[in-house]
Amino acid sequence: MELLLASAVGIMTACGVYLMLRQRTFPVILGLTLVTYAVNVFLFASGRLAQNLPPVLNPEATAYSDPLPQALVLTAIVIAFGMTAVVVMIALSAYLSARDDRIDMSEDDTYDDEQTADHVDNAEDGA
Amino acid sequence: MAQIYEILITAFLVISGVFGFVGSYGLIKLDNPMSRLHAPTKATTLGVGGVLIASILYTLMSEGRLSMHELLITLFLLLTAPITANFIAKMHIHRHETPESLPKVGEDQSWATLAPEKHKPEAE
């Protein structure tokens, strides 16, 4: 069982990492999702595996699985969800604004300075 | 009494297993995309249903109380299965069917999925 889980973690990590190294934002996000799965399972397994010993107290139970990693993974899942949502949104906005969903930027693909544009807007606002 | 329960439970489990398998099997056996839709949406309904009934009986047998919450799962499935089937069918119609390949509509103009957009947004 442990071997199955470990190999699943490994495969998910490997596939996720491969996708994270692609050049477009969307596959990178998919890769992140896979890696997130992998790490959640990893963190979960750090409390060791147990079958049918849910950490819900009841008088008949003789043992429980480790509740702490479960709580941690729960937090981690939620946080990862928030992060994914944000990165999806930023990637989408970047694509819509730049019409390019490449994840790599070259130093001079838009050389004109956007910081200036910010302030031009600002100045106009003020005027 | 327990014997009857056991037999009943076993029967339901076996039946559900068979139907569950048939549902998934049909998915690869049938060659027409619309036909494939029939396999899971029907067979698994009873498949899951059988398991749930077995579960109810089991609780009744082992704890002597009527645990009905499995019924909720059935309720959900019955409520949702038609909708998902409807959507998957619409996907098929959208991609593969034409007004000609479908039966005549009757008193209306066309089938909804193939109907031209009613509220076409005005491009500005």
């Binding site: - | 029939h38 039966p103 009757g106 109907a115």
Partner: protein
């Protein structure tokens, strides 16, 4: 009365929800009932903007009858379809589209009909016509599509007409 209608926009829903609560809790007690009822009133009240129409169901006895028929048909359907899938060759199947002209008008009724069709023998509700006056049904194996149409109209739609309209 108006106030009561405001407060309990869908009385059947309230009952349904209370039952759902009891099922969820899976333990009947006064506490569960009171709390379930409370939620059964509060939740429809909160969500009523999302369900503005109020379908009125007329014939509770018919409803029960209908449910039994459908459950029975589902069991039969499963056996039939399982046989088709397991033992009949693909080329011997004759799938068909069937158009079912509708007399039902309320959305709720049409939905129940469509759902019933999907849950029962070898049929799937695939689409509505653009005015909602016909239902498109796909049959897994229907050498005679007309028979399927007639059975649906007779076995289900007629009963639903009595319940809803």
């Amino acid at each position: 009365m108006k106030i009561l209608q405001r407060l309990v926009p869908h009385p059947i829903l309230t009952v349904l929800l209370t039952v759902v609560w009891l099922l969820l809790v899976n333990h009947f007690s006064l506490n569960s009932l009171v709390f379930g009822l409370f939620l059964g009133v509060v939740i429809p009240f909160i969500t009523q903007p999302y369900w503005p129409d109020r379908p009125n169901l007329r014939n509770p006895w018919m409803i029960l009858q209908y449910i039994v028929i459908v459950l029975y048909d589902i069991v039969v359907a499963n056996i039939v379809v399982a046989r088709l899938i397991l033992f009949k060759r693909n080329k011997n199947l004759s799938p068909a589209w069937v158009c079912i002209p509708l007399e039902l008008r309320t959305p709720e009724a049409i939905t129940v009909l469509a759902a019933t069709i999907t849950l029962t023998p070898g049929t799937v509700s695939a689409d509505l016509s653009d005015q909602g006056h016909s239902l498109l049904v796909h049959c897994l194996d229907a050498p005679d599509p007309g028979a399927v149409r007639d059975e649906i109209k007779d076995r289900y739609e007629r009963r639903l007409m009595e319940i809803f309209e």
